[in-house]
């Protein structure tokens, strides 16, 4: 007799636990307001990434096409996997001194692991992360980018 009561109790508790679970899921079914999906490509316009989001490394330029990169190559040394290549040249400044300056700052997005060591160690804060996150391209070659814009110059006052 006792075993029969146990048996019925087991069934009752089992069904009860199942019904509790169903109440949760059915509850969500009737509360579409809790849907969390983003309609991604449609909300592209008002999709704002966090300001610290590590999208890709960029070199900010100001309006007069000036950047802060002195071409010291610290970012290249700090990069763990050879993402960055700094090609520098020697220029002659106005007061006649020879000075090292950047020719091309090559950044290979396909190799970048977003460890932020380059941005962090840059002595003149020349590098930054952009919020761009759609990196897919059809051609791998276009993942190799030159960060300094053509014709750009070192900002005044940055050593």
């Amino acid at each position: 007799m006792r075993s029969i009561i146990e048996y019925l109790k087991e069934i009752f508790n089992g069904v009860l636990s199942l019904l509790r679970g169903m109440r949760v899921t059915a509850g969500y079914f009737f509360r579409p307001s809790e849907i969390v999906t983003q309609k991604y490509p449609n909300n592209r316009k008002d999709l704002v990434m966090f300001e610290r989001f590590k999208g890709e490394v960029v070199m900010p330029h100001n309006e007069s096409n000036e950047h802060k990169c002195t071409g010291c190559g610290i970012c290249e040394i700090n990069c763990p996997n050879g993402t960055i290549e700094v090609i520098s040249k020697t220029i002659v400044t106005e007061d006649g001194k020879k000075k090292r300056a950047i020719d091309r700052h090559i950044y290979r997005l396909g190799m970048c692991t977003f460890c932020a060591l380059c941005v962090k160690t840059c002595p003149s804060n020349a590098l930054a992360f952009s919020q761009k996150f759609e990196h897919a391209v059809f051609d791998r070659a276009s993942l190799i980018k030159q960060l300094n814009k053509p014709g750009s110059q070192l900002m005044k006052g940055v050593e």
Binding site: N13, S17, G21, F50, F53, K54, C115, L117
Partner: protein, 374 residues
């Protein structure tokens, strides 16, 4: 003409061998299990790993200590923060750097958040392994909030790279405390739902209790750590035994069970989520003021010698063993990754159970394959 092959065997010695993985929905990555079956019963399991072996240990030998951090992110991607912490703690210990309290507290909060999101993902995938697909979405929905917290402060969602030798990469974001508190409030409401859907469910109970029991002796012998071992009663929480960061300042319980079956491995993680929330709540309101990083030398060189640092990741004890020859690159780095060690016990646990149980057992050990392969 295709050659005729014998396709129906009557030989009884033939084994029914099924490859589970590398492309299988429940191996959580590219783990390959060669399972020999007797009917539905598992006779033997041969794990094959190495599909994503990247040679992280070899790579570490040619890069500097701050650069190692970005590799540790990619081992156990669910405990990225704790992995980073292990390197930082080791370097700081070796150089005898004094770390301000602010850094310690932030590190503790971040690693508890990290553990929380890892356990959420465990809950989600474990439910899915057992066939309850909705769990997956609920788990990920709540995990998303932690990832947002990470992203706001560190700029990365999973690959956080937030630690660096001597402190942190950046200071916490101004919204950090508010967001964490909001999340705790939200998750305290959602966690009972987890229990209703899965823990209390009679089918779930039947599927997991008594399945794949791991005794204390076996857990010790196989070197199991983390929640999987604590479910068997092995007290192995590094946070208690060798407190690092701010763990000596917070109160939390080490979740211990004695049964060691799949259900208790699940429960250990489930309870740890509550413990993590308690820990975070204790710290979040009293983050001390101070710098977020200590000024380190530009080139970090460890004194010659051998160093060992343990941290408690979400899956168990991560040991970092470094031999330094005084250069800026380590001479030898060995990661004692919890998943790699936990894999060894799979055959022992699942033998004699059914295929469906194998999935449950493998799920309850909570494998992250890149951590195995390194």
């Amino acid at each position: 003409m295709e050659e005729k092959v014998e396709i129906i065997a009557t030989d009884e010695k033939q084994e029914f061998i099924v490859n589970m993985g590398p492309q299988h929905p429940s191996t959580h990555g590219v783990l390959r299990l060669v399972v020999s079956l007797q009917g539905e019963t598992v006779k033997n399991i041969q794990p094959h790993i190495g599909y994503i072996h990247r040679g992280i240990e070899k790579m570490c030998e040619s890069i500097t200590y701050p650069q190692i951090i970005h590799l540790t992110d990619r081992m156990d991607y669910l405990s990225a923060h704790q992995n980073n912490e292990s390197v930082c703690l080791l370097v700081e210990k070796a150089l005898e750097v004094d770390i301000p309290d602010r850094i310690k507290v932030i590190r503790t909060i971040m690693s508890e958040l990290s553990r929380l999101q890892s356990h959420q993902l465990f809950w989600a995938t474990f439910g899915m392994d057992l066939g309850g697909q909705t769990c997956y979405f609920y788990g990920l929905r709540d995990r998303e909030m932690i990832l947002d917290i990470f992203e706001e402060t560190t700029g990365g969602r999973m690959i956080v790279s937030y630690n660096c030798p001597g402190g942190l990469m950046y200071d916490i974001h101004p919204n950090f405390q508010k967001r964490v508190k909001d999340f705790i409030k939200y998750f305290r409401k959602k966690l009972p739902e987890y229990d209703t859907i899965l823990t209390g469910n009679v089918i779930f109970r039947e599927r997991t209790s008594g399945i794949g029991p791991l005794t204390l002796q076996d857990a010790i012998s196989y070197g199991i750590t983390g929640p999987s071992a604590r479910a068997s009663g092995l007290s192995c929480d590094v946070r208690k035994h060798e407190p690092y960061s701010a763990y000596d300042k917070v109160k939390f319980n080490e979740v211990l069970f004695s049964e060691g079956d799949t259900y208790h491995r699940y429960m250990a993680r489930n309870d740890e989520m509550r413990q993590s929330m308690n820990t975070i709540e204790q710290l979040i309101d009293n983050i001390p003021e101070g710098p977020y990083a200590v000024k380190m030398k530009p080139v970090i060189k460890l004194p010659e010698g051998e160093y060992f640092q343990r941290v408690e990741t979400a899956r168990g004890e991560l040991g970092l063993f470094v031999i330094s020859d005084g250069n800026k690159n380590p001479y030898r780095v060995k990661f004692r990754s919890p998943n790699f060690v936990n894999l060894g016990v799979l055959n022992h646990l699942a033998k004699g159970f059914k295929i469906a149980d194998l999935i449950a057992i493998a799920g309850s050990l909570d494998f992250v394959i890149p951590d195995m392969d390194r």
